[in-house]
Amino acid sequence: MLGRVRARWRIGALAAIVLGAFAAAGCGGPGGSASTTAATTSKATASAAPTCGKGPVTMKGYFETGFPITKALTSEFTKQYPNVKWDIREDQFAVITQNAPRVLADDPPDLMRLPQVSELVKDGLLKNLDAYAKAFGWDKWPASQLQQMRLGPGGRPRGEGSLYAMGLNFSMTGVFYNKKLAAKIGMTSPPTTLAELDDAMAKAKRAGILPIQQFNGGATGGLAFPLQDLMASYGSPAPINDWIFQKDGASIDTPTNVKATQHLQQWIKAGYFAKDVNAVEYAKMMSRFIAGQGLFMFNGDWESGNLDKKMPGKAGFFLMPPADADGKQAAMSAPLTFGIAAKAPHADCAAFFLNWVATNPKARDIAVQVGGSHPMGPADAHMPPVKEGSVTASTLEAGSKIGEDNGAMDFIANATGAIYAKSWTPQLQKLVAGQQSPDALLKSVQSDYENQVKS
C-alpha cells in the first residue's frame, strides 16, 4: 500500500517536473530566431569581381547523384585552376530535398544542388547573390534565365527580387517520340496543333501501339508533365507562373486549366496511357520507351544525350503544340539550380565558379554535351556544335523557340515544397483510377496550396 502511494507521488513529481520544463521552455520554442536573414548579403563589391585567389582552396560541394555534368565541370575547373580542390558529397534529389535545410544550417556547403528555394530563403539559409550578379554582369543576361531564382523578402513571391541561386544550365521539356513507330502510323512530321497530336494518338491506339509511355507511380506523379503542357496549350503560361511563384491571389483552378485537365482525362479514358501507369516509376518509363514501347513520352532534355546514345536516330523531340494553329508555344523550362550556403566559407570562389560555368567556352561545351541542355549566360556567347538530326539538336532549337515566344514556365510541382508529393501525385493517381474529377482535382490542389503558402 505504502509502495503504491509512493509510486503515485513519484509519477506526480515527474509530471510536475516535465510540465515545469515545458513551461520554462515555453518562452523560447525550438528553433532559431529570424534575425540570421540580415547577415546573408555578400561582401563582394561592384568594383572588383571575386576570384578563388592563389592559395589552396578545398570547395565543399553537395550534388545530385546521376548527373555527370557536375563531375565534368568541377574536374575541368580544377584543371584550369589547380589551387582549387573539391570535396563532393552526392545524394539522390529526394534526399537532398529533405536534407537541404539541416545541411545548410549545420554543415554549410560552398556549393549545393538545390530544390525549391523559397522556404530556404525564408529561413535565411542561402546567400543573396545580388552583389555577385552585379560584379560579374549576370544582370545583363536574358532576364528569363534568372527569373525563377529571384525571390522577394522572406521568400515570397518568387520571380522577382534578389537573386538567391544560379543554374549550371537550363532544361526544356516537351514531347519525345519514337520515329519508327511514328512512321508506322504515317506521322511524318511533328504535330503542329493539339488536334493533330490527338489524331496521332488515336491512330497509334488503333494500330495497337501504346500512344503515351509515362510514369505516375509511387510518390512521383509524372502525369503532371502532360497536364502542364496541356495547360500551356489551352492558356497562357503567365498565370501558371504567377501561381508557381506564389503571387497574391494566384489560382490554378482557372477555366482553361479545367479544360486542360478534362483533356488529360479524355486521354486516360481513351486508354492512351499504359494500363499500369500508376505503378510505373520514372526509370521503368525510360527503359520501356527506349525498348520501343510507346509512341510519345512527356519528358525533358536532360534525357537528350541518353536517348541519342541508346536509340540513335530513332528518337525525336517537339514542343507541345498549341490548341490553335497560330497559338504560341510554351514549355516547362528550369535552371539546374545551385546555391551558396549563407555561412559558406568559400562563397567568393563558388560565385567565381558559377560565372566560369556560364562564360568559359570549355564549360559551355560540357553544359551541352554532358548536360544535354542549353548553357546559361549571355545570348551571344559561344555555342558548341551538335550533330544534325540528333535529339540534342532539336531540344536546343526548341529552347530558342521558347525564348522567342516568351513561353518558359517553371514546373507546377515546384510551387511549394510539398505540393508535388502531397497534392499533385495523389490527385493525378486518383484521376487515372477514375476516383477524381478534373474540376475537383484542381480545387483540391488549390486548397492545399493556399494552406501551404499561408503557413
Binding site: 516535465v18 520544463a21 515545458f22 521552455a25 515555453g26 520554442g29 525550438p30 528553433g31 532559431g32 530566431s33 529570424a34 530535398t97 529533405q98 535545410p101 539541416r102 544550417a105 522556404e119 525564408k122 529561413d123 535565411g124 539559409l125 505516375n216 507511380g217 509511387g218 510518390a219 499504359a274 494500363k275 499500369d276 501507369v277 500508376n278 505503378a279 510505373v280 515544397g417 510539398a418 508529393a421 502531397k422 501525385t425 495523389p426 490527385q427 493517381q429 486518383k430 487515372v432 483510377a433 476516383q435 477524381q436 501551404q452 503557413s455
Partner: protein, 326 residues
Amino acid sequence: MARALLDDVIDVYEARSEPRTEALPPTTARSPARPAGLRTSFWVGWLFVAPALLFYGLFVLRPLLYTFWYSLYRWDGIGPSTWVGLQNYSKVFTDPDLLKTIVHAFELIAFFSAIPVLLGLALASTIRQIATSRLALAARTVVFLPQVIPLVAAGIAWSWMLSSTGVVNQVLSHIGLDGITRAWLGDFSTALPAVGVIGAWVLLGLCTLLLLAGISKIDPALYEAARLDGAGPFREFVHITMPSLRQEIGVCVTVTVIAALASFDIVYISSQGGPGNATMVPGLEIYYQAFSERQVGVASALAVVLMVLVLACVLPIQWLTRDRDR
C-alpha cells in the same frame, strides 16, 4: 523520431514478456542489523545500471520528451517556432488525410498479425509432427529466411513480383485468370492488401520460430496421454498446443501488432504511400510531414498519438495473454 519511440515500446514489451520475478518471496537481506551494507549495495546497484540508464535516457527518453515538446509548436525545423498548444493534436484528429493513415494501420493488422500468427500456428504444429526428419529443418530454414533478408531487398523483390509483368501475374495468366491480373501495387483497391501480403511473408517466419520454440518446451507426455485417451491431431492442437503456447502467442501478437501500426520500411520501399494515399500509414506520414512538408509540430503530434495508440492496443493483449498460473 517515431522509430525511437517505437523501439522504446518494443523494448518495454519484450521486457514484459519475460518471466516476472515480482512474486518472489521478499529477501531476508533487509535485516536491521546491517544498514550500512544495504546502503552500499543500493549504490552499487545503481552504478551497474548507470551506463545503460544513461544511454536509455539519452537516446530514448530525451527524444521522447523532445517529440512531445515539438508537438506543441508550429515549427519548420529551422526557423522560429510558434506555441500553438494542442492545435497540432486537433489537426491529427480532424484532418481526414491524417485520420485515414491510422485506419490503414489498423487494416494492416489483419495481414501483419492475423495471417502470420494463424499460419504460424499451423506451420509450427505441422513441423512438430515431423520434428525428427530433415524436412523439418529445411522447412524451418525456408520459413525463417524472410527475417534474414534485409527488408529493403525484400520490398524491391516483391514490387517486381507484384508488377504488371511480374511473376504473380504470369502465374495467374498461366492458370487462366487473365481477368484479374493487374499492377497490384498500383491499383487503389489492391495496393494496401498487397503491402499487407509482403508484411505477412516477412513476419510469418518470426512467428513460426517463436511458436516452434514454445512447442518444443511442452512435455511430450501430455501428447502421449492425450493420444491414449483417443484424441486426434485436432484435439491435441486445441487442448494441449494452444493453451501451452499462450505466452508465445502473446509475444507474437504483440510484436506483429506493433509492426503493423508502426510500419514504415515495407510501405516506403514498395509503394511510398501511393497510389493516391491508398497505402499511406502513420509512420510514413510522420516522415513526410517532418521532412517534406516541414511541419515538425504536426509530425511530432502524430508520433505521440501513434505511440499512445500502440500502447492502447498492446496493453490489453499483454493482459489477456498473461500467464495467470504463475
